[in-house]
Amino acid sequence: MTTPKLYWEDFPVGETVEFGSKHVTKEEILEFARAFDPQPFHLDEEAAKQSILGGLCASGWHSCAMLMRMMFDGYIHEAASLGAPGVDEVRWKKPVYVDDTLRARRTCLESRASKSRPEMGLTKFRTEMLNQKDEVVMTMEGWAMYGRRHPGARTET
């Protein structure tokens, strides 16, 4: 745990930030699928070609996990993160295939101070994950909790 650089106040509503670069290997896809999602289109190239997905592709849960890692490396590692209560919605819009290179783009949609915990603020992001063809492969919307630089400061809304 290092001293944070980013607090709740540092995520202004309307700001869009791009981050991350993740090359997806076949070995990673197979490793995650064997552990958590052993369906043919995540495990077997021939079966995947015959399936509605058209080729070997990552589990959607693996995509979530890869985006989480990009978010960590992109900003959460230096933020006063207090976790997340959940995720409002995820859409898996296109398959993530072997050798795709992914990046992410977050937009801050809403921000509010916690009423019950004056040291905490909540921020709602819409985060898109894109591939090397600039196709949006996944979108995620939800709230995350951050420590405030100025706990309990009065906020105007």
């Binding site: 289109f41 996990a65 995720v87 995820v90 898996w92």
Partner: protein, 161 residues
Amino acid sequence: MPWFEDIKIGARTDLGRHTFTADDIIAFATKYDPQYFHVDAEAAKRGPFGTLTASGWHTTATWMKLMIASRQGREEPLDADGNRPPAGGPSPGFLEMKWPTPVRAGDTISYSTEVIEKIDMRSRPGWGIVRSRNTGVNQNGETVLSFIGQGLIQRRVPKDT
């Protein structure tokens, strides 16, 4: 999977239990979610949950693991026409994921799924979307996971559009 037509709203399946060890929690989080309260048991004591906790994505991926295991445990019989019912299809995404209580090392989570809605697909007459309410509950009866999952399931007979 059963055919889309044969899936009944309200059908509930217990998916079994999983016990999370500290090693499992740290191994998953080291790869995918290395926030200190998921990877460092000492530092986590001073963190937001006061102890090491599993990444919400780990809690959720384990639901998927048990979901697939439960399907493999019950091979669908041939239907009345002698056809093998379909394999599960992909998912367009999920809604309302909530992690109301964190999963701690040593917790045993009981997972379940319940069909709540069936939706026709105009764009794909051979398929339908099944929505389910999926949950995980710990040994104290506290909900640690709740979300609405969605899956594409093949129809026995394509829908007239």
